[in-house]
Symmetry: C2
Subunit: 344 residues, 2 copies
Amino acid sequence: MVRGIKAVKLEDLAKKLKVSKVTVSKALRNHPDISEETKVRVRELADKYGYVPNFMAKNLSARKSNIIGLVIPKIAHFFFGSIIESIYNTAFENNYETVITVSQESAEREKKHLQSLLSMRVDGLIISITEQTKDCSMFEKIIESKIPLVFIDRVPPIKNVPSVTVNDKGGAFSAVNYFIKNGITEIGHVGGYSHINIGKARMDGFIDAMQKSKVPINPNWVVEGGFGEEDGYKGFKTIFNSGSLPKAIFAITYPVAIGIYEAATELGIKIPQDIQITCFGNNTFKHTVPSVFNFVDQPTLELGKHAVQLLLDIINNTYTVPRNIELNTRLLIKGKESLSGLVA
Amino acid sequence: MVRGIKAVKLEDLAKKLKVSKVTVSKALRNHPDISEETKVRVRELADKYGYVPNFMAKNLSARKSNIIGLVIPKIAHFFFGSIIESIYNTAFENNYETVITVSQESAEREKKHLQSLLSMRVDGLIISITEQTKDCSMFEKIIESKIPLVFIDRVPPIKNVPSVTVNDKGGAFSAVNYFIKNGITEIGHVGGYSHINIGKARMDGFIDAMQKSKVPINPNWVVEGGFGEEDGYKGFKTIFNSGSLPKAIFAITYPVAIGIYEAATELGIKIPQDIQITCFGNNTFKHTVPSVFNFVDQPTLELGKHAVQLLLDIINNTYTVPRNIELNTRLLIKGKESLSGLVA
DNA sequence: ATGAAAGCGCTAACAC
DNA sequence: GTGTTAGCGCTTTCAT
């Protein structure tokens, strides 16, 4: 196959200018060695020829890439979509490219992508683990080898690892507490696996809110699973089959809420008339368009921004002690102006 | 900064096995030169050492990358999010990595990303242009240099270029026609720039539907702009300031519909009671959750899949004549089961 | 079937 | 200031 834009290279420019490749290379990178005059000449010719350095050669040689590697479970998902956008744009503003990889909630793919990214010699990694990630050895190896790494939202159980998360427990608490304060006490929770931070913390928030108000928890209404629509669907069927139904459900994610909605609709149960649902996440940037769900709104833009900044700080050695940034959530009630979260 | 996983390289494996780098390299790539026995030995050691080839070196040397480059206007946007996911997964299944870049509707960023991707020596490109892309010289240069290229959804006005799109005109027609058939004739269109295929085609569909039913078009209710929320917001204000309001609006995208919703709400106008809205796009994979909008549903998964397949066909020289694939849309009416699109 | 040599395009170390 | 010399880790001739 014929191929390849007639790529001009350093050498071509060097020949034209009757200087060496090195001079051109340095001039282009604004190296202090080179005189202002040559720099100008070089830059002009480079512009004229539309010179773009060969990415592979540059990074192979420089042993760094100006790339941030991202491993995220999902992409067509509002929460992750806007996190990715935020990370991508923040990195871009700081002259970093972001290589986005998507694990599709598969631990195996996650590992594969990590290897690809490492082989690309990324300067740092931002990771949100899959719902089934249990083996942390890969992460530990990366940490050992001092490659800058920040976890975002979903964090594995590793000591002293930098992370950016939201106040999951507090958000869950305020969601459940809102139901209780409004006289609803028959509350279920379609939750996430407890081996992941967000599954555990949101469950804890649920339990805390119930206990604090001395509301008994019906174990039939509490299920644990993954973070997708199918999990919400299955979760609701499980609750339904237990013989009785709650009046409200706290769902761990927006997709889970959608799954619950679908199962309920199939069974002739009306949302929100028969059962109210509050979930983590959001379905649009703006909160003005009405929804059948209430939301524990997560500041996705801030999450992404902080993750990149934290990572860059680590890359530039600004921090050496691992930092854990926790951002606040807000409770959004459908049909109402947004309320501040009532955190425990 | 200390760095770098103690990367095992070909040489390390070669030494251990007392063979040359070349043998190891060939064995790993299953080259017929090498005996089955050596291949097994090599693979075993590579596995044991967790050998991952250096991406940069490999591609610099091989002059190809097994990478598909993607340039897309937005990411935190349901339509593009699911297109990206579909492209990414289809590519992955075919052993290609996808490098996703996001232009944020900026023609300048688009160009920059194209250069980066070219310098990565991507094997092919999938592009959806920004709302402001007017200069096509970069695309033409790429086409000239025979780098495989497929446009998806948003296509620039270039002759004979491979593309995957939806039936924009037909979808628009059925959306507007549905209003008319239900007795609503005061219909506006918050549309997109006519210099882009989708802006033009959807406008044409709107006009056709109106004319076919002999419904007069009120020019005050027809505005043209970008594809984002702010454009919908501005568009509605423009219509409002004209002095009269339509009973229905056909919006070019989901974000535009959201913008309209916001402006209307601000002005005390109720959606959908006062004005019904139908837009292209969707806000969730599943169509069961109710929405205040009707949708001209686009088959995002299919769009992505076809784009990758078409690109791979081009890369592998299966096709030489440019192909244009056009997929059908469906009209989804809120609160009702989905209907088939009524295409002209 | 295996390997030595050359080179992909760039940057870093050290001359001059 | 500028250029020379060596690689970065891999693949591709072309010998053997």
